[in-house]
Amino acid sequence: MTAREKYDEIFVKVFEVDKSELGSGFNFADVEKWDSLSHLTLISELEDAFDIMFETDDILHFGGYDNGRKILARYGVAID
C-alpha cells in the first residue's frame, strides 16, 4: 500500500466518509464528525501507521486533509 493509500484509508475509517470526499475541502470547520474524539483518533492512527510522534503544535494545527499532508512531509512522510 502506498503512503497516500494508507493516509486516505485512515481518514475514511475515522470520519466514516467516502474516499471521494477527501481533498482540499476536507477541513475541520466543514466536517461535522471532526470533533475532539475523531481528532484524537486520527492523530493516533497516523502516528501508528507512519511510526512517528507529532509535536503538540502540529496536533493542534492538523486542521484538514491537505494541511495534514504538509505536516506529515516535515516528519519525512511524503503523501503524494
Binding site: 461535522e32 475532539s36 474524539l37 481528532h39 484524537l40 493516533s44 503538540t56 494545527h61
Partner: protein, 469 residues
C-alpha cells in the same frame, strides 16, 4: 433575578463566547429579561444548546420568567429530537439561527444568533415547582428526563462556589456543554459569584481553543476524564498557562495514574487540582476533594459539599454507621431533583425523590470521611452466576497494561474492547485469571477507538451493537 444576576456589579463582565459576544452583568440581566418576556409563564421550551451567549440568554431569561426549559445538545441526533418533540410537545423551541430553519415554525424573537420559535403545541399544565428538565447523561436515544425543582440550580451553584472558593475574580473556561449537568453547573456557579464565564464551542484539540483560553486568561478548567486524556496527549504540562490556577474534574472516574499525574502537576506548578462527583439527578455536584488532599487521597471524590450529606447503605437499605465502610452511596441535600419523566403527563408530578438520592454507585468511606467510588451497582454481569463488576474489570486491565479498555456484554459473555492489538492474548489470559473464570466467557475485541458520547462517557451499548452485535 434567577442566580442573582441583577445583584452583581452591572459593569463587570459576565459572559464571553468565541463568536465575539461579550456581555456585562447589566447587559445580561436586561437581555435575559427581554427574552423572558417573549414566552408564556409555565410553558415548556426546548433549548437547543451551544456554549454561546445567545443560548445562555434564553436559558437565564426563560427560567427567570417561570417557563421550563429542557436543555438539549444543539447537535442532538435528529431522530431522537423528533421523538422528544412528539413526546413532550413543547410550546417553544430556542435554537441557533441555522438550526431554526429546520422547523416549520415562524420565528417570534431573535437575539445574539438565537431564534425563538412558537410551535403549534398547546400549553399544558406543569407542576408548579418544576424549573428545568435535562436528559440523563447515561441515556442515548431515550426520552427520559430529570425534573429539576425551583431552588435546585441555585442551591448547587451557591454550595459548589463555596466548596471551590470561587470569587468574582475567576474567569471560568466553560467547554463542557451547558445542556450537560456539570457543564451548566460550572456556568451557574460562576455567575452566582459575579465571575466571568468563557463559553467556548472550540474542540480541545484545536489551536483555537488554546489561543482563546490564553487570550481571555482563563483561571479554571473543569473537564471529564476524556478532557484530561486530550490534555496529556497535547503534553499540556509543558505549556505555559500562568493564568490557569484550578483544574477540576467530574463526569466519571479518572484512572489512578491520571489522578496522581494531575495532583503532582498541580503541586509542582502551584495550581489546585479538585476532583468532584455529581449526577444529573442532583443538579450536578454532590462532593469534591479539597485540593490539599489530592496528593494523599488518590481516586477519592472527597466529602459532601456544604448543605449536603453523603451516606452509605447496605443491601437492606440500612445506613452504615461505621466511619470506614463500603456500600451504596446516597446523598441528601437541597440540590436533589424531583424525579424522572418519560412522558409529558409526568411533568405535572410532584417531588418523588424528597431530597434523597440513591446513586446506584458503590463507594468506600475512609477513616477521614472521604469517599471513593468503587463501582456501579448495575454494571455487573453474572457469568456462570458469578457477579463480575464491569467497572472493576476495566480498571484492572487499564492498570495492568496501561491501555484503553471498555468492558460490556451480557450474562453469557463479557465483551472486552481494547485498542492495542498487541495485548489481545495477554488481556484474555489476565482477565480470565483474575476472575477465575473460563476464557470462553470473555471475548476480546480490538477496536479503532473506545466510543464515547460528547461528555466523555463510554457508550457501552453502542459498542456492543457495533462490534459484538
Amino acid at each position: 433575578m434567577f442566580l442573582g444576576i441583577d445583584r452583581q456589579n452591572g459593569s463587570s463582565l459576565a459572559m464571553i463566547d468565541n463568536e465575539g459576544y461579550r456581555l456585562t452583568y447589566g447587559e445580561t440581566a436586561a437581555l435575559a429579561a427581554e427574552a423572558g418576556r417573549q414566552v408564556q409563564k409555565r410553558s415548556l421550551i426546548f433549548l437547543l444548546c451551544t456554549n454561546t451567549v445567545g443560548s445562555m440568554l434564553g436559558y437565564l431569561g426563560f427560567v427567570d420568567a417561570g417557563a421550563v426549559p429542557v436543555t438539549l445538545n444543539a447537535h442532538i441526533d435528529r431522530e431522537l429530537l423528533r421523538n422528544l418533540l412528539e413526546v413532550y410537545a413543547p410550546a417553544y423551541i430556542w435554537a441557533p439561527k441555522a438550526a431554526a430553519e429546520e422547523f416549520p415554525y415562524a420565528p417570534v424573537y431573535e437575539t445574539h444568533g438565537y431564534v425563538l420559535l412558537r410551535t403549534d403545541s398547546e400549553i399544558y399544565p406543569l407542576h408548579e415547582d418544576l424549573q428545568l428538565c435535562m436528559t440523563t447523561s447515561g441515556s442515548t436515544g431515550s426520552p427520559k428526563l430529570v425534573r429539576y425543582k425551583k431552588g435546585n440550580l441555585e442551591a448547587n451553584a451557591r454550595n459548589v462556589a463555596k466548596a471551590f472558593g470561587w470569587t468574582s475574580a475567576e474567569r471560568a473556561i466553560c467547554d463542557l456543554g451547558m445542556q450537560y449537568t456539570m457543564g451548566l453547573n460550572v456556568i451557574n456557579t460562576h455567575l452566582y459569584v459575579g465571575a466571568t464565564v468563557l463559553l467556548t464551542t472550540y474542540n480541545l484539540m484545536s489551536a483555537d481553543f488554546w489561543d482563546y483560553i490564553r487570550k481571555e486568561r482563563g483561571t479554571n478548567f473543569t473537564g471529564v476524564p476524556f478532557s484530561y486524556d486530550i490534555f496529556y496527549r497535547l503534553r499540556f504540562e509543558r505549556m505555559d498557562l500562568p493564568d490557569l490556577r484550578t483544574l477540576s474534574q467530574g463526569g466519571g472516574k479518572l484512572t489512578d495514574a491520571r489522578f496522581i499525574q494531575l495532583a503532582e502537576y498541580a503541586q509542582r506548578t502551584g495550581k489546585r487540582f479538585i476532583p468532584s462527583f455529581g449526577t444529573t439527578e442532583t443538579s450536578a455536584r454532590m462532593a469534591c476533594l479539597p485540593a490539599e488532599l489530592a496528593l494523599t487521597k488518590t481516586g477519592s471524590i472527597g466529602r459532601a459539599i456544604p448543605e449536603g450529606e453523603l451516606f452509605l447503605i447496605d443491601e437492606n437499605g440500612q445506613v452504615l454507621t461505621d466511619m470506614e465502610a463500603e456500600g451504596e452511596m446516597c446523598y441528601k441535600g437541597p440540590n436533589v431533583t424531583m424525579g424522572y419523566a418519560v412522558c409529558k403527563e409526568d411533568l405535572s408530578k410532584g417531588d418523588e425523590f424528597k431530597g434523597v438520592y440513591r446513586t446506584g454507585d458503590l463507594a468506600r468511606r475512609d477513616a477521614d470521611g472521604c469517599y471513593y467510588v468503587t463501582g456501579r451497582l448495575s454494571r455487573f454481569l453474572k457469568l456462570l452466576s458469578y457477579r463480575v463488576s464491569l467497572d472493576q474489570s476495566e480498571r484492572l486491565i487499564q492498570q495492568e497494561f496501561g491501555i484503553e479498555c471498555a468492558c460490556a456484554g451480557n450474562d453469557q459473555r463479557m465483551n472486552v474492547y481494547i485498542t492495542d492489538a498487541s495485548k489481545e492474548k495477554d488481556v484474555l489470559d489476565y482477565i480470565a485469571g483474575k476472575t477465575g473464570l473460563y476464557k470462553s466467557l470473555f471475548k476480546i475485541y480490538v477496536v479503532p477507538g473506545i466510543l464515547r458520547n460528547d461528555t466523555g462517557k463510554i457508550q457501552y451499548r453502542v459498542m456492543d451493537e457495533t462490534y459484538a452485535g
